[in-house]
Symmetry: D2
Subunit: 372 residues, 4 copies
Amino acid sequence: MPSSWGKIYRVSTFGESHGPSVGVVIDGVPAGLPFELEEIQKDLDRRRPGQSDITTPRDESDTVRVLSGVFEGKTIGSPIALIVDNKNTISKDYDNLKTVYRPSHADYTYQEKYGHRAHVGGGRSSVRETIARVAAGAFARTILERELGITTVGWVDSIGEIDSHISESNYPRSVQEVDSNIVRCPSKEIADKMERHILDLRNEGDSVGGTVKAVVYNLPPGLGDPVYDKLDGDLGKAILSIPACKGFEIGSGFAGTRLTGSKHNDEFYTDSQGRVRTRTNHSGGLQGGITNGMELVIKAAFKPTSTIKLEQKTVNSSNEETTLKARGRHDPCVLPRAVPIVEAAINLVLIDAYLYQRSLQPEWYEKWVLKR
Amino acid sequence: MPSSWGKIYRVSTFGESHGPSVGVVIDGVPAGLPFELEEIQKDLDRRRPGQSDITTPRDESDTVRVLSGVFEGKTIGSPIALIVDNKNTISKDYDNLKTVYRPSHADYTYQEKYGHRAHVGGGRSSVRETIARVAAGAFARTILERELGITTVGWVDSIGEIDSHISESNYPRSVQEVDSNIVRCPSKEIADKMERHILDLRNEGDSVGGTVKAVVYNLPPGLGDPVYDKLDGDLGKAILSIPACKGFEIGSGFAGTRLTGSKHNDEFYTDSQGRVRTRTNHSGGLQGGITNGMELVIKAAFKPTSTIKLEQKTVNSSNEETTLKARGRHDPCVLPRAVPIVEAAINLVLIDAYLYQRSLQPEWYEKWVLKR
Amino acid sequence: MPSSWGKIYRVSTFGESHGPSVGVVIDGVPAGLPFELEEIQKDLDRRRPGQSDITTPRDESDTVRVLSGVFEGKTIGSPIALIVDNKNTISKDYDNLKTVYRPSHADYTYQEKYGHRAHVGGGRSSVRETIARVAAGAFARTILERELGITTVGWVDSIGEIDSHISESNYPRSVQEVDSNIVRCPSKEIADKMERHILDLRNEGDSVGGTVKAVVYNLPPGLGDPVYDKLDGDLGKAILSIPACKGFEIGSGFAGTRLTGSKHNDEFYTDSQGRVRTRTNHSGGLQGGITNGMELVIKAAFKPTSTIKLEQKTVNSSNEETTLKARGRHDPCVLPRAVPIVEAAINLVLIDAYLYQRSLQPEWYEKWVLKR
Amino acid sequence: MPSSWGKIYRVSTFGESHGPSVGVVIDGVPAGLPFELEEIQKDLDRRRPGQSDITTPRDESDTVRVLSGVFEGKTIGSPIALIVDNKNTISKDYDNLKTVYRPSHADYTYQEKYGHRAHVGGGRSSVRETIARVAAGAFARTILERELGITTVGWVDSIGEIDSHISESNYPRSVQEVDSNIVRCPSKEIADKMERHILDLRNEGDSVGGTVKAVVYNLPPGLGDPVYDKLDGDLGKAILSIPACKGFEIGSGFAGTRLTGSKHNDEFYTDSQGRVRTRTNHSGGLQGGITNGMELVIKAAFKPTSTIKLEQKTVNSSNEETTLKARGRHDPCVLPRAVPIVEAAINLVLIDAYLYQRSLQPEWYEKWVLKR
């Protein structure tokens, strides 16, 4: 069950939703970097269940501990192991799932793939696995901010049919701005509508999907590799591997396919500080898979939560037809909690591209980091 | 410039658009498999420039040769090197590009990333690099078809504003069906409209984007890994790393985010042969990143070709503003040639997942391959 | 600080000698396999400090816990995290090492490589890191034994100038045989001599080196890959990366270079059960990097422990010359504890080769595992 | 048949001894580096068959061509494909090998591993595969020399029972010195003895083994990773994966196991230029898997060539006993040709460690490369 990624900043994760702990080992971190556990806890708190009325009432503090790789507040170059213990694991909720496949869950596919499975919680397919990504991504965020001045901000752009209609010039500039409401949609008015919609569906025992948009500010040009490891592809994989994600766009995305080249091309100009910029940003910050110094803009689609309290038809492990009505505590909508996960995914891709680029061209490091 | 991928079926590519050759080395291929070079040539012919009126007039036969890994018509387990020589490389077309950055191309980003570049052709960012993917993917296709009965079919689903409106029940079943016209849209009537639109834009010196849809038939359940190497993510990366790709959807994609869970969930049932199936296929064939035995359905967005003959504003390598009018021979629309590239990308992901699954659970191989 | 290895059975380790814990994450384990924690504890007990009079008096129970990947006594296919807490960490022993480089230790090289280091304990260069290898290797041993009938046995073949003179026909057949004395040399008489020698040197404040030999019984032919990932090379790396290892031989090793081809070649014959065997085994069980079904035989050289209580000349981090006399508790000879580490290294290489081979040729699995 | 290696400087090889070509793709090379094909040809000429009376008379020019990655004499950051065509492939020499397993060759193990094989030439197990390593290593050598001032020199240290007895103070300082005779042993007198011995054995139809020693000058401290990717282990693997290699030592090797710690430890001092050095070099240039700035010293054992003209007993693919007398043209002793292969292996490991270190600590690059 390959659970590792990254060429340089190498992340390996472990832990089931109902086992003792989930964790992550981050290898490839340079020595001597400040390590602030509270920065990691901050993003875990933004991800944790039970954080508001519109998330699952399953309450977990998700407190992170560091087992290795840090000495006297600084990294020492060795693998950093971070661990979060599972506290709130009511296994009896899952007894009826021993044999019944939940629709649009991974029960049936696990059974066929492994020929054997743990029926409690969903194991590794649970969104609980994303704790590891958020922890590793949160630490990456601190490095990217300190060394490159990069800021990554995601927000809920739509819930069901409710669209935020936030235009490029109004993109939020900080996590604080987005976190000003529990939906994590920067428009207060739309956020209220979204919140009511989520609550209505929860009361009906139903769920709803939506989209997250994210932008990265202050990226230097030159990150990403132009063939198979294009940043487009690496970001796509990082985000499409988040549970419930069904779509990914970079820059103009699907809408851009309707334009002509003369409308879509991003013309270059030189700004007042002599920097090369583009007038439009249909490229979404990437050309040939490499950052061009403009804002990176991506969008991700999340399906409605599969676990609903309404009765559904399904089959059991003897291939007999049956019905299922979920018990337990679940998110009626994953979007608010998806925001820090998307940000973490982006930061994990960027930190790896950054560390790799330092190997490739030390002059680049001199120009974009030392002389910043 | 990492140019390798795959855990087991390991693909490494090389070659610039204006160098002597492009090629691919495929490692991890089991021994004793039939190797038919003509099957690979067939897909390369579907990808090659100059194949019709609506592709670039740059004419290349793209004839493939095998340098290793095959003996008396069968694989011997060693790396298979495939090579295509470049014939039609008129470098003088590129002299003016030594210093001018083409809008929405990778000229500027290469310069910043590498501090040095070959200005002819676009080097590795050229779509010519996809020869390697198509060759490796075409061989994967023959293995998947023979051992698992898998068929992968892609088609042009839209060009600019023209949508094919092909519903799930009318998805094409074979490559031949799609290749019945030069646009590769299975609806003859819509294909004619698309063709005229492309020709009009070419005559204006402009270009246009569109979407490719693809479906995979006869997939067994159990392929793909449920955490970071979810098949969703691996397919997303494989397709988003194709030049000009700006978006990717699996199953219900962005449209699915507008549904409620009760509408979106795919209820299971048992079909007349006792197989587990789902009534709907919003999941697009994947649950928890693993195939569930339903059709795999993906969609990819391709932006309009960046090279257009209209004058555009840009800057040069001294950061001075200038204008550019492209010369040379280019596709007014990449979509028809993108179809075999998307298919190859899918088959490369599937072959790797298949070979990996054989290691993981030999009983699965017994059940889904030997007893097929 | 790359700390991961394996193509399929992927091992990632973490933890410093003086941090809270050391651990290992094993990914790529098939689901449904019995998991017996006591089997892992058994090998950890063979490795642990304080196990006898001739090892370091630093007493650690090294009790292993499992954090993930196991449910109701069986693997579930997800990463298995194993952890051992550090109990006996007297940091003040290390205060004087903040600035002084210990001769033949990694203090100076860490300082130059990372520009920053934790001076306590030796961090990742400590032999404590091998806990992770032994734990992962012990679990591999159980799989290899159950599925293939493989037995791996190592022993101390020499200490300083004292050679065990154990000939091929007297190689020990089981771990129990080797563990019958604290030196882990199967000849009781020689073991007593070795023990006295080690105690003498310990009393002088000095240390001594030696060699470990290991043999693997019941290997099927076909494991290992014939180019860069030859089993010779993979075993060599696994063993040469154990702290203090300075040499590695497979089969005839350095002595074989003195022979002619006609003496060195291993002639094939067919045994009474119709199996292909060789009369001699200079190849040490490998031909072209692949197992040939004969016993695998390797030998490893371990230098004398670097930490000694005698005064030594050295320099400090300001490059000033100084002297050092080690305090703390250390092994006068690493050999007895190296035996389970060498066995673990071998088993880690073999399990990975075995799982990879299942992907490559399912007929091989049928022949050598199912029909065994 | 995994044929790739390296974390950053990534090498992938292909080609059988009797196919059209052997080749190598080098990925991860920074852009803008001088690329001199003649430097690569030089090392290939040192490796090629037919270079002298004591190598195989199979005459091959082994002329290398570059297919990609180079433009106007400089690297452009894209994969560099190098290719050597096979000219002298007399397949009929191999007809009798279709069914008979050659003793101490990889015929039997290939058959069991792959269930299918090409009987001509030995395929990938042929020493012809090392062309790829020598080519990739020769280019690495030019980078290491230019950027770090590193020199790697190997030589034949023994042939059969004839030892060169070259002491540390007489180690050769340049390739030219070693290449002054066809044996590649820097002592003219011993070289003559070795040459006569090889010729005698060739006339008898027999073969002989020997050892190669190699030293690397001017290494900066800080290369190599201290856990599993210790430079000891990476060098060991690189060299033990060369055909016919049976043993590897770093520094004091097996002889060092006989010393006490007080004799073996390398005491530090500060030299007249203020650099940290050690009085002795039992460590062989590595401490904790990382270079310490002293000379790197390794030794490798090569068995006698398996192909001999004397009759040998063996079995065939029906497991029937038979005899074999080799025809064809073979080296009576691989040692002289092994020297450039060992050097290449070392340089491939060092270039990868160097490029990785640039990512890890840019200050290191500043100190050891820019300020050199």
